[in-house]
Symmetry: C2
Subunit: 232 residues, 2 copies
DNA sequence: TTATAACAATGTTATATAGCACAAAAGTAC
DNA sequence: GTACTTTTGTGCTATATAACATTGTTATAA
């Protein structure tokens, strides 16, 4: 049994959400056509304007989805954690990718050819429903985000990003956020410059909302943080 | 034949996109369960936090979808024209409405109970695909919009809104945009204050990109407008 | 070890845009 | 018609934030 096949067997147990919606025949189809690929830290998974070919499922690691904006400034659109599906929007819309994805840390990604997914969709209403639901949720998040990023002030935006990171990746026992972002990434997530991300973080430290140790962010007063996030 | 039924017959011919995907039985089901409602100018169609119950199809008029942001500032998320479907995202996501919708001018809206839609979806893959496609396209637009609204400067954002209006509602023979927005709405679409919308419009007039006559906006140099929109 | 680069912190300056006040114009109601 | 509200247009001021420059700090490599 070659290594590749081995991995396919492995991942199938963890594809949870989608896997549960399939019958044995469909699962067999996936086992045959899916493959696992590994990405090094900062490696590109797909780029803006690439042709979408695969439904991707993040098995291990963290992925950032981002867009290059005006003047090279990049905006992080969302972060992916295991086990989340991504990279399917463009295909369904009949477009090229509008965003890019890169491995935020070393990643294992399961690739399922979109035509295979489409074939299964034809006879599997539960899976259709899954995608409709997922896309609807994401669209809601995107609409929220538009208003938050444009209308909230810098403190509110940064606080919101921290809350988002807490909710996505959780806290360690010592209340450290379970992901280590460079200040620049935090800025790209919050729509501000790196300097302002740094400054505002310092302010939060002074106000005893967080403490900093390099890229480690420890949450001291989560309630206050959520309040700052809400009030903009 | 009562007036209501009459209207149902009328609309069925114009529901185009979706209607085409249905068989006779499904159409009959729609005819029975759908109804048409009229809204006066500025009347609320649904509000933030309302429970979503209907798939809506705009038959006549114009609708704006917006969100109340920080400090009463509202942000127009998208505009709907005939014959477009809307109001379904929240139901599919299992959420209340995150946005509000109001009649921008006198409107006729066809209401289809979401449970009926879901019933049809179960056995109609083409319709599933329609929604998956539509949601995917909208999600792409939302992602684009996030970056544009946050990173482009005021001229770029206003120009983009004008281009959007041209593409959505078209131009009359004399190159007037086919929708008459208050400066405030234009501002809410472009994420700026009313004063700045007015000022920037005036600048565009001076630069001979447009001319103004009250709310009538006549496009003089569309190419230049698109250029301003692109370059931020 | 030193050299080199990437990142973090912070102060200073410049500027885009919001906020406000007020006047003019246009709609709307009575 | 008059009174009233809403919308539009402009100028002025305040301010949030970007842009830039500098310095300190930490990693990485030679």
């Amino acid at each position: 049994m070659d290594r590749r096949h081995q991995e396919v067997i492995d991942f199938s147990s963890s594809l949870s959400d989608v896997w549960r919606l399939l019958n044995e025949k469909e699962r067999e189809l996936l086992r045959k056509s899916a493959s696992v690929q590994h990405f090094k830290k900062n490696q590109m998974i797909y780029g803006e304007n690439d042709e979408p070919k695969f439904l991707m499922c993040l098995l291990k690691g963290k992925v950032k989805i981002f867009k290059e904006g005006v003047g090279g400034r990049s905006q992080i659109i969302r972060m992916i954690k295991p086990v989340q599906y991504f990279a399917y929007r463009a295909y369904f819309a009949g477009e090229k990718y509008l965003t890019a994805a890169s491995a935020f840390e070393a990643c294992s990604v399961c690739l399922i050819p979109m035509p295979v997914v489409e074939d299964i969709l034809k006879h599997n209403f539960a899976l259709c429903k899954y995608f409709i639901h997922q896309l609807s949720v994401d669209l809601g998040i995107a609409d929220e985000r538009t208003v938050n990023l444009t209308q909230k002030h810098i403190r509110g935006r940064l606080a919101e990003s921290l809350v988002f990171l807490i909710d996505s990746y959780g806290l360690e026992e010592d209340s450290t956020i379970n992901i280590y972002l460079a200040r620049e990434d935090l800025a790209n997530l919050s729509n501000m410059t790196t300097s302002n991300a740094i400054r505002t973080l310092s302010n939060f430290v002074m106000e005893k909302v967080i403490t900093l140790d390099g890229r480690k962010i420890k949450i001291i007063d989560e309630e206050k943080l959520r309040k700052i996030s809400k009030l903009g």
